[in-house]
Symmetry: C2
Subunit: 153 residues, 2 copies
DNA sequence: AATATAATTATAACGAGTACAAAAATATAA
DNA sequence: TTATATTTTTGTACTCGTTATAATTATATT
C-alpha cells in the first residue's frame, strides 16, 4: 500500500472528512511512521514543517479519524494516549526500557474466553509489556527514552 | 478465599507493607468489591467511613500495592485508571453503555502471537469493549452511568 | 518520656486533554 | 468577482487526574 498524498486524500474523502492540509499531513505521519505516536510526538514532528500547526488541531483531527474509524487509540499506559492508523486486528508490545511500541500479529479470534457468552463484543485489545530485543542487547535507543515518561518503575 | 482483616494484614506484611488502617481498608475494598474501581471511587466510598482519609493516601497506597505486585492497574480508557487486586491472569470487558468492567477468563498462553520470538514478555493485558448483558436487556445500570465519563461516543 | 522514623494529610503544581470563541480558510450565492 | 455563509484552524483558558512537597500525625525505638 503506497502512501502518497492522493491516496490519503481519497481515504479521507471516502470517510467524509475534508482533506485539508493538516489532516492529510497527520494521516500521512501515522501511515508512514507507524510508530504509535502520542499527540505530543505528532505535534512536535509536524510543527517543524507546519509552523502554524496547533496542538488543538492535532487533537481535533485525531478524534475525527477515530470517529470515522480510520484510526484507533492505543491505550497502554494510563498517562499517554497513542494513535494507530492501522485498524487491522493486532497486538501491541511496549518495551519497558526504551518505551517503543511494537506491533505483533495475533489471532484474537482464537483467544479462548469464558464468561462472555452473553456479551456483545465490539472491540478487542491486546497489549504486552516487557523488554524488546534491542534493549535486551543493551543497545538502548536513547532517542526514544528521551520522549518517554515512566511511572512505577 | 475469605477476606477478613487478619488475612489482609498477613498479605500486606508478607509483602513488607505495614498494615496501617487505611491500607487494610483499601485492600479490603478491592478484594471485597472486585469492581475495578478508580481512585475517585475508592476514595468516595471509604471517606464515608474514614472521614480523615485523603485522596493522596489512596494514591500512595495503590502505588505501594502495585510495586509490591499485589494489585494491578487496569488501563482500558486513557482517562481513567482502575485498580484490581486480582493479579491472576484474566481479561477485562468494559461495557460502553453502563461503564461497568467485568472479568472474564482467558487462556492467554494460547494466544498465537507472531513477531515476539525475541521479546521478553513481562505482562499480558487483554481488554474488550462492547455491551454487557444487562444493558443489552436495556436495564441500564443508572448508578454506574452517573460515575462514568465517556469520550467519543 | 524523648527521640527518630514512617505514614498521612493538605496544598500546590503539573500536564494531558477539552471547551470556547476568535481568526483564517474555504465554499456558496449573488 | 464580491459578498456571505460555513467550515477549519488556532490561541487561550479551563478542567481534572495525578504527583511533588512539606507539614502534621502516628508509630516505633532508645
Amino acid at each position: 500500500m503506497n502512501i502518497n498524498t492522493e491516496s490519503i486524500r481519497a481515504l479521507l474523502m471516502k470517510h467524509n472528512i475534508k482533506p485539508s492540509y493538516p489532516r492529510i499531513r497527520i494521516m500521512e505521519y501515522l501511515l508512514a511512521k507507524r510508530n504509535h505516536p502520542t499527540v505530543e510526538k505528532i505535534y512536535g514532528e509536524l510543527v517543524k514543517e507546519i509552523p502554524t500547526l496547533s496542538k488543538t488541531t492535532v487533537y481535533n483531527t485525531l478524534n475525527l479519524f477515530i470517529n470515522a474509524n480510520i484510526t484507533r487509540v492505543v491505550t497502554i499506559e494510563d498517562n499517554e494516549t497513542r494513535y494507530d492508523a492501522d485498524i487491522t486486528n493486532h497486538g501491541h508490545f511496549k518495551c519497558e526500557t526504551c518505551g517503543m511500541v511494537y506491533d505483533f500479529s495475533i489471532s484474537s479470534d482464537d483467544i479462548e474466553t469464558k464468561g462472555l457468552e452473553k456479551f456483545e463484543v465490539h472491540e478487542k485489545n491486546v497489549y504486552y509489556k516487557g523488554i524488546c530485543p534491542k534493549c535486551l542487547n543493551n543497545k538502548t535507543n536513547i532517542e526514544e527514552v528521551k520522549n518517554e515518561k515512566f511511572k512505577r518503575y
